[in-house]
């Protein structure tokens, strides 16, 4: 038996209530002092402080003006970073990742599968992750629409949804769709099949969009006889892609396919927000930079399939130096718990600076998700999603001591289980 005595659930819950997270509204003013503040956007502040008001960062600097009533957290000279953003995750979906019954499923909403009680959310939080993009899987050329969550484990489902996050859709390419459908003797079973299926869907969406545009025009002109076309959820979603209302996130490995996807986006007039995995981005980084396409990549995964054979651990830094926005993501319930170590590999492979490496798990993924104006750095006005680390975060050794989201403590290493009951009482 374990001999350690852990704090009981009751005590942990009491602390949660004291910090005002349980009702989701009564934010207390907080000052975090005596921290090495890694802002990501404007350098490090040694012995810095942050004033948090109403869940937002109200001030940051060597000293901050805050009311005397504010709760003070002494960081004890430790490192403080923005919360980590994981721009490619499939946790909390209870295995409902792929609606692999058709290669075109843009009307799938990941929000409908979101399992807000999944403990993976808490475990990622314990690794410093505060925001995740939960994506559809890669079985389909056009998968479903993502949901953006904040890791407020223990809160209600709706409190965990990132408020007003932009919409994203998952596209895929390469081996996965061709394997899934090819193994059933269906289209697509080749890369040309993949792209034909994608183009066909987009062509239908163009027609659908035209029908609706023409109807809306008629209504605008006061045509009372105008009758609306039949709504089709699938085409409606794709029409929104064509209208630029949904950001396109593409699962992709090979550089040739990246060029084809870029051409396809131009053919239909939409923009690609990011290539995900993108293990061969270093081969076409110039073209990615030109088209303002980010990448969400692994630090050093390789060789697990043919299209991952040319992966190199310098992909992140080589692409970054060509002007590509680079994020390191997990795509894994495991790696999402230690993305800080994964980002640190960019220092080792290609000599990224500390700030560049940190940006790969904060501001850059926030941009990919479309929430970089609200999270991803320690700047006034941004959400107070913050991590206090026990040691240097860009190393094998740094692990979070406290994680705050919107100014509330959701993880505290001295009281694991804060706001939750997922560990055995008195164990």
């Amino acid at each position: 038996m374990l001999h350690c005595v852990w704090l009981t659930t009751t005590l942990a819950l009491a602390s949660a209530a004291a910090l005002g997270q349980s009702d989701g509204t009564a934010h207390h003013d907080i000052v975090i002092k005596n921290a090495i503040v890694m802002t990501v956007t404007h350098g490090n502040i040694a012995n810095g402080s942050i004033y948090i008001k109403d869940g937002k960062i109200a001030a940051v600097g060597e000293t901050v003006n805050a009311p005397a009533t504010a709760t003070v957290i002494d960081a004890g000279g430790k490192y403080l970073t923005p919360g980590i953003v994981d721009s490619h995750s499939h946790i909390a979906l209870d295995d409902d990742v792929n609606e692999a019954t058709s290669p075109i499923t843009p009307h799938m909403m990941m929000k409908d599968a979101f399992d807000y009680q999944d403990k993976a959310i808490y475990r990622a939080l314990a690794g410093g992750v505060t925001t995740s993009l939960l994506l559809h899987g890669s079985a389909n050329m056009i998968g479903g629409q993502a949901v953006v969550i904040k890791h407020k484990y223990g809160a209600t489902r709706d409190e965990m949804l990132f408020p007003n996050a932009p919409r994203s859709i998952k596209f895929a390419s390469g081996e996965n769709p061709k394997r899934v459908y090819g193994s059933r003797d269906q289209l697509p079973s080749t890369r040309m099949g993949n792209f034909a299926v994608q183009r066909q869907a987009l062509v239908e969406a163009q027609d659908y969009m035209r029908e609706w545009d023409s109807y809306n025009d008629k209504v605008k002109r006061g045509d009372k006889d105008a009758s609306p076309p039949k709504r089709d959820l699938k085409l409606e979603a794709l029409a929104d892609v064509l209208r630029g209302k949904i950001m396109v996130q593409i699962h992709i490995y090979r550089s040739d396919e990246m060029l084809t996807e870029i051409a396809m986006a131009k053919e239909f007039g939409y923009k690609i927000r990011a290539f995900h995995h993108a293990l061969e981005a270093y081969k076409v980084a110039d073209q990615l930079a030109e088209n303002n396409i980010a990448i969400a990549t692994f630090a050093d995964w390789w060789g697990y399939k043919q299209e991952a054979w040319d992966a190199i651990p310098w992909n992140a830094t080589m692409s970054m130096r060509k002007g590509v926005r680079v994020a390191i993501k997990s795509d894994s319930e495991d790696y999402t718990r230690r993305l800080n170590q994964e980002a640190a590999k960019a220092i080792r492979y290609g000599g990224a600076t500390e700030e560049e490496a940190l940006k790969m798990i904060t501001l850059n993924p926030a941009w990919i998700v479309g929430v970089d104006d609200r999270v991803g750095s320690i700047d006034v006005g941004k959400d107070a999603d913050l991590v206090i680390w026990n040691g240097y975060p860009l190393s094998s050794y740094g692990v979070p001591e406290k994680v705050l989201i919107d100014g509330d403590v959701y993880f505290d290493r001295s009281q694991p289980g804060l706001g939750t009951t997922h560990y055995k009482e008195g164990e």
Binding site: R123, G303, S396, G398
Partner: protein
């Protein structure tokens, strides 16, 4: 401080190094160190006798010839002296479970030789016979200082076959396979049940009790097989003795006897050998306690079942994984066997704390258990030291973390006289890095295997360089 040579790791544009790489690319490297090499000025992590700042290590004839402070080590004349100022030098790392040489591209079946699935009992499979020395994965792993590894079959069978202990450089597989059949996994994690289906299951075994019974029968059969052979050997010896006696007798009677009759008699007394059974034969060294069983279980119940099975046949074993056995760590300690722990990245069970697996190495160490780490991987072997470093964030002392991928592993695999520390007389597997070996940021600059500079390149470096030109 004079600097006799530029460090070979000063950059990949170094012409000397380039020549070296090209030379290697066009010739089969025979692994003999040509002239002594001395690394001077680095920080030596000896593992067995502390840290030596500003140390010198001399490698000669593939062995470590001297280790000590710069002030006290004599560098032999004619040695290549390399300035290692600012570098950290440590013994080659040992990964206690990998699939190196058994896979190339995970999803491409024809590149995989990981495990035979036709039966759960396959002790006659020898990873040494599938080991692909030219695998592109091996240079990738050794570039980060992993110089030795256990190659194990995948864990889908109860007895999937026998491990090999390899060195990650050599002219060919024969040279790299330091020990064939050094150990054998016995897996009892529940994952070996592949005919599950309750009432619908059609093929034995489909349950844990089925797997256990099958395993027990295999060891009983092996005992029986051993007896049959012993019986045969005894009869053969008797027959030989009788024959000698007969010969003596016959010498006198030779003239009177009919030779043909005698021949017939001899034939009758010659015992027939039992039919050879490779499966049962393979189990014998383990039944006799001559070799180590690597006993894998995850949770407390499987662990105790597996241990009682092993004890039933008096097997010599080390434990593997035990990732979810936190409630019985005192029991684990009472077994007084080493544990290959983890991977610590294994997700906790539903009712386990978020750090239950992360802290397992520290919890075991506190109880006096010898621990070693493994990557349990092929492509990610290079990340072995990161795991050891991460375990320190959850309470494992730093020195113990380093030992778990060096000397402890060497001891578990019976090679501590040759590997696992910077000690005179050991194989010169030496790593030069720009910092702490357990930190994820640390860049390994040069690896020596048996005293030879390993070319610091691999498929990935070549791709990097090719695309950096553009």
């Amino acid at each position: 401080m004079t600097r006799p040579n530029n460090p070979v790791w000063s950059g990949h544009s170094c012409p000397l190094l380039l020549t070296f790489i090209l030379a290697l690319a066009f010739s089969t490297p025979a692994l003999a160190q040509e002239k002594p090499i001395a690394l001077r000025g680095g920080k030596l992590l000896t593992v067995t006798h502390g840290v030596i700042e500003n140390g010198v290590i001399v490698m000669r004839g593939g062995k470590i010839a001297a280790v000590g402070p710069a002030s006290s080590v004599n560098v032999p004349s004619g040695a290549q002296v390399i300035d290692a100022t600012g570098m950290t030098i440590y013994p080659g790392l040992i990964d206690s479970e990998t699939q190196l040489g058994l896979t190339e591209i995970s999803a491409e079946e024809m590149t995989n030789d990981l495990v035979e699935m036709s039966d759960e009992i396959m002790p006659h499979m020898h990873t040494a016979e599938a080991f692909h020395a030219e695998s592109a994965l091996i240079p990738v792993a050794r570039m980060n200082g992993i110089t030795n590894a256990v190659v194990a079959p995948e864990s889908a069978d109860t007895l999937p076959g026998q491990d090999s202990f390899i060195q990650l450089a050599g002219a060919n597989a024969t040279e790299m396979l330091l020990i064939r059949d050094n150990a054998m996994p016995l897996n009892f994690t529940g994952d070996q049940r592949r005919n599950k289906g309750g009432f619908g299951a059609r093929k034995f075994p489909s349950t844990r009790m089925g797997l256990a019974a099958q395993l027990r029968q295999a060891f009983l059969d092996a005992q029986d097989y051993k007896m049959k052979w012993a019986d045969f050997e005894r009869k053969k010896a008797d027959a030989a003795q009788n024959k000698d006696k007969d010969k003596d007798k016959n010498r006198d009677k030779e003239k009177d006897k009919d030779k043909d009759k005698d021949k017939d008699k001899d034939k009758k007394s010659e015992p027939l050998p039992p039919k050879r059974d490779l499966k049962l034969e393979a189990l014998l060294p383990y039944l006799e306690g001559k070799k180590t069983i690597v006993l894998a279980a995850e949770g407390p119940s499987d662990l105790q079942t597996a241990v009682s099975l092993a004890n039933e046949f008096k097997l010599k074993f080390v434990l593997n994984h035990i990732s979810h056995s936190q409630p019985v760590l005192d029991y684990v300690a009472s077994l007084k066997v080493p544990v290959i722990v983890g991977p610590i990245y294994e997700a906790p069970k539903e009712d386990e704390r978020y750090d239950a697996v992360y802290s397992l190495p520290a919890q075991l160490y506190k109880r006096g258990v010898k621990i070693v780490f493994a990557s349990y991987s092929a492509h990610n072997v290079r990340n072995l030291p990161d795991q050891a470093g991460f375990a320190t964030a959850f309470g494992l002392p730093y020195d113990e973390a380093l030992k778990a991928i060096t000397i402890n592993a060497a001891e578990v695999w019976g090679v501590a006289d040759q590997l696992g520390s910077l000690d005179v007389g050991k194989t010169a597997n030496v790593v030069v890095a720009n910092g702490d070996p357990l930190d994820v940021k640390t860049d390994v600059k040069q690896v020596f295997i048996a005293g030879r500079e390993v070319p610091m390149t691999d498929r990935q470096v070549r791709l990097r360089d090719e695309y950096s030109k553009k």
